[in-house]
Subunit: 356 residues, 2 copies
């Protein structure tokens, strides 16, 4: 049989706990659907700093490179926050994105029925919100030259934002393709009234748009987009933008759904290779206490099945199982209205496994 | 008597209409409080492009420079949107900020009682929201070198983000001082886990913080801030950040109050010199129809009285007059629940003048 290789990176904080539940789900889908997976675990982030002296050990990269996809829990925590740059978990995160060529970050922001009230937005405004932020992930000001120097007015710091036509075109085309299988609306977000990189971005969008005549495109300035997400979230379908703007807008979009603890994300490279992870962080305050919600990680696995392996039957089954368990009223502490009835991480995982 | 000089720039779209109402208010405060103002009008933005061939004519700069403060309506419109960069209203805006040394943009985001329901946020979340974004306005990626060049992968565009210690320190100290006369909380927003300019920013904040021991400081990453503004808007007091982040976050903050049509802003230079303008734009769709809401511009004038001239009696009187007129139920179309009872721009201005 066709054995798929998955690199599993538990990471820090609640990472190991939520990843363990996703691995149970993985095992169960093997049994039920006859798929075959081989997992290989690797150290990354804070734990890798502690054990290997670097957030992204060479062997971790090797494990990822020989895999078909990567499942990531979460990285980071206060323990490493005041480390020098080279010894910080985020540096590992930026490094793995670049090394694996993960140029596209897909961040769906959907409202879960059972969490409608968790949003700070009025329900009638949120109604029908289902959008996807497509964020460029290996370019822009994140990866441009950085330096310190002495200037006329004391020390100065410099960051450089660079984009070339190839980088813009591949992410923009991907966003158009995603829009084609969704509601066929694309908002391209930039700051073309100020930035040269944004003007290049807009030129590329306008040049490739005729290749996707069924998709309606609008250009939205980033400041205006930050407002419109609040004003009319349900009017957006796919939003495509550069790295820094995408960082800000995808978090804003996730938060307004009220479902941030349940959202999955995919960082895609060339072909079908991707890294899948929950949107939430490592939550060190609740780590190791069987309190974390494993749903976002389990849904990230479903996303992997769909996007990397094309196993949509298994992806459908997992998503349906999650919905069933939620509809039956089971909640982890983060999403429970009545906290006294909340169940733990492993219990939630078991229920979902049983429901598949 | 001490005659204060005000440069009045009506600008485009609804600019002339709302500025005209603010001028009526100006005249009335002269009569009532014995202050003396001399106004000088100047062309700026789209109208300056049309009449003088440049968005920021040299004589407009001269008018501003010999004034004690500038009152600005709004600039821009679709008519000039596809012009080359040098012939766009925004270019004038960036130019006037730089030429007048307006390094600090103060954007209060408050909830007006009568507009509570206009927000898309739940009223209980919004309750007590009263924050001020202090945005650095003459540095960062807005003003760094920009270029196009041929790269390995086709054409590429570059923007440069530069900050020096002096630029960061003056805005950060101003934010601390503002926090001292407010609720004594300062959130400094950066992306120190990625950007060198943010690391410099954070160093400066940490270095000067001991000079303001009564102010509680927190460092917030920009992506997290975009989320927390939605999650807990009322917990913020003063937010200080660099130019690009401030552009995005101040608009997000303004929108979540639901009061965007009523908010004023100040762009301050050295000393008490400042440019005062409504947060809303030029709204070309309703221009010339006596439909615009002049309140944000009138409140911008009050802000000028307070910040540039120290005329807090007149500022108080104007703000009280606006509150009185709103409490009496008068509304322009943008804020009217029952649109059929909406009054026009001039009627609203007259009512406020009468109430002072
Ligand atoms: C941790 C940080 C470097 C990272 C980013 O800014 O990309 C995070 O915010 C994210 O969005 O994955
Ligand atoms: C028009 C544009 C250049 C400007 C900016 O980005 O500064 C505007 O959005 C603002 O906030 O005043």
């Amino acid at each position: 049989a066709d054995v798929k290789k998955i690199a599993v990176i538990a990471g820090d904080g609640i990472g190991p706990e939520v990843v363990a539940e996703a691995e149970k789900v993985l095992k169960r889908t093997e049994e039920l659907f006859g798929y075959s997976f081989e997992t290989e675990h690797a150290l990354f982030g804070g734990i890798a700093i502690d054990e290997k002296g670097t957030p992204l050990p060479e062997e971790t990269l090797e494990v990822c490179k020989r895999a078909d996809a990567v499942l990531l829990g979460a990285v980071g925590g206060p323990k490493w926050d005041s480390n020098p740059k080279e010894l910080r978990p985020e540096t590992g995160l930026l490094g793995i994105r670049k090394a694996l060529g993960l140029f596209s970050n897909l961040r769906p922001a959907v409202v879960f029925d059972c969490l409608k009230d968790a949003s700070t937005l009025k329900p009638e405004v949120l109604e029908g919100t289902d959008l996807m932020v497509v964020r460029e992930l290996t370019g822009g000001i994140y990866f441009g030259d950085k330096l310190r120097r002495q200037g006329e007015h004391g020390e100065e710091a410099v960051d450089t934002c660079v984009y070339n036509v190839m980088e813009v075109e591949r992410i923009v085309r991907q966003a158009f393709e995603i829009a084609q299988i969704r509601r066929k609306k694309l908002a391209s977000v930039d700051k073309a009234n100020v930035l040269e990189t944004s003007r290049l971005w807009r030129e590329v969008v306008n040049r490739v748009a005729p290749d996707y005549p069924d998709v309606e495109v609008e250009h939205v300035l980033v400041d205006n987009c930050a407002m419109q997400l609040l004003r009319r979230p349900s009017s957006f379908d796919v939003i495509v933008t550069e790295n820094m703007f995408g960082d800000i807008l995808s978090d804003e979009a996730a938060m307004l759904t009220g479902s941030i603890g349940m959202l999955s994300s995919a960082s895609m490279g060339e072909g079908s290779f991707g890294l899948f992870e929950p949107v939430h962080g490592s939550a060190p305050d609740i780590a190791g206490q069987n309190l974390a919600n494993p749903i976002a990680t389990i849904l990230s696995l479903a996303l992997m099945f769909r996007m990397t392996f094309g196993y949509s039957d298994a992806a459908d089954a997992i998503e349906a199982a999650v919905a069933e368990v939620l509809n039956a009223g089971h909640r982890t502490g983060d999403i429970a209205v009545d906290k006294s009835k909340a169940i733990g991480t492993t219990a939630m995982g078991d229920l979902i496994v049983a429901a598949i």
